[in-house]
Amino acid sequence: MSNTRIKPTTIVISALGGQGGGVLTNWLVNMAEQNDYFAQSTSVPGVAQRTGATIYYLEMFPKSEVKDLTVPPVMALMPMAGDVDLVVAAELMEAGRAVQRQFVTPLKTTLIASTHRVFSIAEKMVLGDGTGDSDTVLKAAHQAAKTFVAFDMESLAAEMSCVISSIMFGAIAGSKKLPFSREKFEDAIRAEGKMVEANLRGFNAGYQAAETPYVPEQASDTDVPFGKIEGTANTPAAQALIDRINGLPDPAREFAYAGATKLLDYQDLDYAEAYIAELEAFAATDKAPFDLTHELARYLALWMAFDDTIKVADIKTRSERVKKYRQEVRAGKDQIVHMVEFMHPRLEEIVGTMPVGMARFVLKSPFLTRFFEKFTGPRLSDTTKVSSFLMLYFMASLRFMRRKTLRYAEEHAEIKSWLDRVRTTVATDYDLAVEIVRCQRLIKGYGETHERGLGNFKTIMAALDNGSVTPAKVSELRTAALEDEDGKAFKKALAA
């Protein structure tokens, strides 16, 4: 029967729009054809440009195995599960998808994957954290592949200022799974003649990276104690606070330190001290593994640092922000960059920044309400202009009177009743108390988002008032509240 048992080398390349999967495919095809191989490639581009993934499929077959060169080998147009020699994925979840489709098997396949993520809309639009599970995908990929090469190709490409396709090409060469020498790969880049220098730089980096086999990251062991906070205290009072943080149970210290730093930055040392004092009170009755203090350290800090106008103005006027901003938008060294902020103050924000008495007076007076409404609505302010900067700088300076503002009073009233609830619950149902603490996660954002979150939070609290609710139910309600912004899932969970 069959004359030759030699099978074509089969290659799958999975790339997203803009990652240069087509260029990579061309390099491979040209290299093979230049070196006495038949090569065939196909693709299902679908809607690659429109954020989808494109699967390129290649086959190569040595001319030496063919009797009559006018009768080329029969090469398939699509990958077959279990029959792919080399899978190259330019993004981690696409590598996962190749594993899912059984293109990767321990008997046959070398998998070369970038570990970076390009998030899909399904992950991005979630109200909380909807990102895919990279650890599971890495584990599956590592187990399913005969040889697994994985590293962050995107960071490497950025570092080398080259395109990711050249890194991938280098990694293919570095894996040494194709019957071509390194020079033949480089020749293919030169032959194409476009951005040769950058591509060779990327190729070299990818080649080297692929020589190191993938080593799974050891899962960080949560049982390891966090230890003592060193800190960078520069006053005796600050040092005293660091010492108090070190007096808290070990599992709470990391968050407590982050929280105290945040609140010092947000308001002042007194504010941070008040936060630690609250934690100390809860810690006194808490016991190992100190879930309550740990969670409270996180959520109390977040709530106490509520997002008011003063905070926003403060952040936007800082020198360190300008530095970060310029770096992120890739401004040149001395390049002039205008920073145009999109603001939309509502009456709530303006009045919220006033002292309580004045705020209540304004809200009662239709005339004053109308007057202050003049300052609401969409606004553009370029913080590199002195006038706009001064306006925000002034807003930020109101921090000295933050404790007197309406917003502060409102937030702290809510915080107090929340803490009271936790205190009374902890005695009877510890787990429920922890779940109540975690509900703070719902309160975030500005404007409508904030109102929706706070509304959901209050609804859960009301449910607690109205009857016995299990900790599991609270957790379920919280998840449901983060499911959709119309509150459909939340309503359903409440009714259930």
């Binding site: 009797k67 979840m93 321990p106 996180r298 930020a396």
Partner: protein
């Protein structure tokens, strides 16, 4: 200017006798057309043959040298009707479109063409969008071929065979006076391979020759009694002629094998996957040597009955491999074998899935099932199954992987001008309540997907306006139809807007004018600012709808989100009774960037002052609710882990692919989102005035910033 330029590749179309062509399937097919002496070509874009239209458009120089007329047809119906030139003139013709959708659009003209018959070889290249990655409903073109009696070519997918079959197709068409379909699947279109070229042929008879010597053949006009005559001709002359040609020229191939009592019959396009499946079972090799006899139908309609009987007569069973449903060929085969009183059993959909693409694995399982039924000792091993079995050592379950890997639905491109429009619609629905919306084909179809999820039905290209007809007389809450400019010119103006005027529809019709047939790669259309042959706009949508009698027409820039929302609301609530048309303007960003980016780069290089805009999200103030993303879905507006360890939810982040289209800012204002968005304006080659302002401002601002920095540094933890 299409998304992909073939300006360089089309040089390959000049290759002469004996030279080797290396390249893509689409280009090879074009070369095949020129080698066949085609006189006119045309078609309508659609995956996977959009690039064929682009190649033809980019090769106008070669075409005009050869005297070949190229027409970018207004629709598939236009393309099919154009083929009427081959009814009475010996003009070889080829058109292309996406099937089955394009075939549906063209069907009226196709029926008439098939009835009258042709004397010039007429080939319709069908881009078959079936299986993985398909963007349309899954139907077979086969039914069309049978009911109109047009031949169906489905060649083995390698370039030499494809080109050879294309040349033979013209001959077959002429020998049988019948137009035919030449099917190309998506992967064959994008197949890179090689073949030995021949010289291009000038058409022996040109469209000019035809016009100068008009010929009228009354019996070819589709009116009784000729239509009855045509039907008779189809059966008595054209069909037998076709069968004879197929047989004489051996268009269908038999590959013999040692196991003579079984065989596999299949459509040519499936050849490579059949061979690979056999290879996995040790029954074929890489060069196509096979143990099982194969009958390859490069022509899947009509069947050559006696050839099939000849193949099967000494076999106890054959496997009929035919993708999609219904299984027309398998049914026909049963009749053929029955008439010939063969004892050969026919397997098919009993061992293969009824529907869906026949991938390598599916094919292997099917063939294995067939052999197990009729020749169980033949299957000694299964390479593919062994490889799959090795996966048993993976401890992560398939279910766990399904949960871990998020879906990646397609969406609008970065900077797409349709994004602000859909954002406005989403905001409107929030205040106004849900609306019945008919969606359409094109980029705007993506509006039906997350994050916008706008649109209740899609009925076809340019058919959204017609889709709301049932609701046209309700006076109260109105229905909305959304279509693109491509769909509007393809069909929407007449079937939708014209009909709405006549019926005094009270609905709202929104036409998204991005300037191109953008979804298929940015081909020019009537209302493009430039058109294929001239630097001018040929038609305006607004004038066209006014021309058919629409009184209420408004035009708005898509980026004015708040205004768009207000305008659509006005249309929904206006006292005006009658169709209300809103044209939403915004040029396709891919096309715009392609044009403007190089100019900008050049200006910057030349030292001219330029401003580049892009957006930035302040991660310190972002709280990770992602409301901005739910109103955008822009690829460049993404997420990253929060820099604050206390926050669990990832924060929004604008990556470097941002083109500064402005949607983020407009959304922030229109939907009152959050104060985290900022527009960076990067000044290149600043003027002296820029520099002076900068120094003065930085002096003052820097002083204040240092003051706060110092103040904050007094206490640290």
């Amino acid at each position: 200017m299409a998304e992909r330029s073939f300006a360089k590749e089309v040089k390959k179309l000049r290759l002469g006798d004996g030279e080797t062509f290396h390249g893509e399937g689409i280009l090879a097919v074009t070369k095949g057309l020129l080698q066949s002496g085609v006189a006119y070509v045309g078609g309508y874009q659609g995956s996977p043959v959009s690039h064929l239209m682009d190649v033809l458009a980019d090769s106008h120089e070669i075409l005009s040298e050869l005297g070949v007329h190229f027409e970018a047809n207004g629709s598939e119906a236009t393309a099919a009707a154009m083929l009427s030139a081959s009814i009475s003139y010996p003009l070889r013709a080829a058109v292309t479109w996406k099937s089955t959708v394009g075939t549906n659009v063209a069907s009226d003209a196709l029926s008439n063409l098939a009835s009258a018959g042709v004397i010039g070889g007429t080939v319709i290249i069908l881009g078959e969008d079936y299986g993985e990655g398909a963007s349309i409903m899954q139907e077979r073109s086969h039914a069309f071929a049978m009911k109109s009696q047009m031949w169906l070519i489905n060649p083995r997918p390698n370039l030499p065979k494809m080109v050879d079959m294309l040349e033979k197709s013209f001959q077959l068409s002429e020998a049988s006076n019948t137009p035919l379909f030449f099917q190309l699947r998506i992967r064959a279109c994008h197949l890179h391979g090689q073949f030995v070229a021949k010289d291009n042929l000038k058409p022996a008879f040109t469209v000019r020759d035809a016009l100068e010597n008009p010929k009228r053949e009354a019996d070819k006009i589709i009116l009784p009694p000729f239509t009855f005559l045509h039907e008779k001709q189809k059966i008595e002359q054209r069909w037998p002629a076709a069968v004879k040609f197929i047989k004489d020229h051996e268009l269908n191939e038999i590959f013999d094998g040692a196991e003579g009592d079984v065989g596999i019959i299949f459509e040519g396009g499936l050849y490579n996957v059949v061979i690979r499946a056999l290879q996995m079972l040790g029954l074929a090799d890489s060069l196509g040597e096979t143990d099982i006899p194969l009958y390859v139908m490069n022509v899947t309609y009509p069947l050559v009955d006696d050839h099939l009987v000849e193949f099967a007569k000494d076999k106890k069973a054959v496997l009929m491999v035919e993708e999609g449903q219904p299984n027309y060929i398998e049914q026909a085969l049963n009749k053929v074998f029955n008439d010939a009183e063969l004892t050969c059993k026919i397997s098919g959909k009993d061992v293969l899935p009824v529907s869906g693409e026949y991938t390598g694995q599916v094919m292997k399982e099917g063939i294995k099932g067939f052999l197990e039924k009729f020749k169980p000792d033949l299957v000694k091993f299964d390479d593919q199954a062994a490889s799959i079995a090795s996966l048993s050592q993976v401890t992560v379950t398939a279910e766990a992987l399904d949960v871990a890997i998020p879906a990646r639905p397609p969406g609008l491109c970065t900077g797409c001008p349709e994004r602000p429009f859909f954002a406005a619609m989403k905001m409107l629905e929030k205040d106004y309540g849900e609306i019945h919306i008919s969606a359409d084909i094109g980029c705007n179809s993506f509006g039906t997907l997350p994050p916008f999820q706008i649109g209740n039905t899609i009925m076809g290209y340019g058919l959204s306006a017609a889709s709301s007809s049932a609701f046209s007389s309700v006076r109260g809450k109105r229905a909305i139809s959304i279509m693109g400019d491509g769909g509007f010119w393809h069909n929407g103006l007449t079937s939708g807007i014209g009909s709405a005027v006549y019926n005094n529809s009270d609905n709202v019709f929104i036409i998204v004018d991005n300037g191109y047939a953008a979804a298929t790669g940015g081909q020019y259309i009537q209302s493009s600012a430039r058109t294929l042959k001239e630097d001018e706009r040929k038609a305006r949508i607004q004038e066209a709808v006014q021309g058919v009698g629409v009184k209420w027409v408004r035009t708005i820039n898509s980026y004015d989100i708040a205004d768009v929302k207000a305008l659509v609301r006005e249309a929904m609530t206006s006292h005006f009774i009658g169709p209300k048309v809103i044209v939403i303007e915004g040029e396709c960003m891919l096309n715009r960037q392609r044009r403007e980016k190089p100019i900008k780069a050049k200006r910057i290089k030349a030292g001219k002052r330029e401003v580049k805009e892009r957006f930035y999200v302040e991660s310190e103030t972002c709280t990770g609710d992602h409301a901005c993303i739910r109103l955008s879905g822009c690829p460049s507006l993404t997420i990253k882990p929060s820099p604050d360890i206390l926050r669990e939810d990832p924060v929004a982040y604008v990556d470097n692919s941002c083109v500064g289209c402005g949607v983020c800012g407009e959304n922030v204002h229109a939907a009152v989102l959050c104060p985290s968005f900022s527009r960076a304006e990067l000044i290149f080659n600043p003027s002296g005035w820029d520099r002076l302002k900068h120094v003065v401002r930085q002096g003052a601002i820097g002083f204040l910033q240092r003051r706060s920095d110092n103040k904050r540094a007094r206490v640290s933890l």
